[in-house]
Point group: C2
Chain length 164, copies 2
Amino acid sequence: MTDRKPRDKSFQDFYPPSYSHCYGCGTANAHGLHIRSFWDGEESLAVFRPQPYHLAFPGYVYGGLLASLIDCHCVGTAAAAAYREEGRKPGSEPAFRYVTGSLQVDFLKPTPLGPPLHIRARVEEIAGRKTVLSATVTADSVITVRGRVVAVRIPENLVTEHAP
Amino acid sequence: MTDRKPRDKSFQDFYPPSYSHCYGCGTANAHGLHIRSFWDGEESLAVFRPQPYHLAFPGYVYGGLLASLIDCHCVGTAAAAAYREEGRKPGSEPAFRYVTGSLQVDFLKPTPLGPPLHIRARVEEIAGRKTVLSATVTADSVITVRGRVVAVRIPENLVTEHAP
């Protein structure tokens, strides 16, 4: 389940326009990372190929990028899980909008720069507006990073095309 | 203490060559963020101006960038604090090399995209190879993000110009 066809719709393809500018995962951000997340059974999966300049030191991936991958992938998973929980079609109105409340990243070992990174997330708990998710980053079949995200659902009117 | 002259030497200017490629703070990374950190009394300070494309949604800074700023600024502060602790000149050999063991980021409120961001860090504890730091991000005099980093000192021979 690692390689999706470009035409497959990711969680982020269903985001409302105001969320499509995100540097991490917005489809409309020309400079961004374009993280794309999909269901893979009960987990969600994003596959990401870092650029050669995304390094911490020679041969290893930059930690801030790894934090970014976990962040966007988990927030996307929180939104997708909310649709699934309510039995609604992804992207149907009113849209679910989540932001990151907190992000915890544990770097277990250096992540090699070269192989595609597999970012997996799992919903641990949905409690009202808050969704707690756990995540891993795997390179060459080795888990190098573990993450935990608290995603918070926000009212639709808090984000507009023209804020603040 | 917010605006340093370009010729002032930051913590990162004293990094050994193998650390100068970091996407977040390496002076030699042409694509990177070039985070620059300085002492400001007992705290350390970095001032960063996000690019217009560093957004989460219109008007607000991308969370992954904020995590990256805290990460690199704290790891740089850990190295600078180690030199200070030993009464050694910054950059003197053998060089201190720190990596991020864990990173916790709490997003208190959205961070406006526009004003320069002030990232402040403070050493909370130095315990052997581990240094614990707390950090804040301030925009327009309002603290929008709090962070906590455990930086870990690694032996010099673990990082080379040609790893892995």
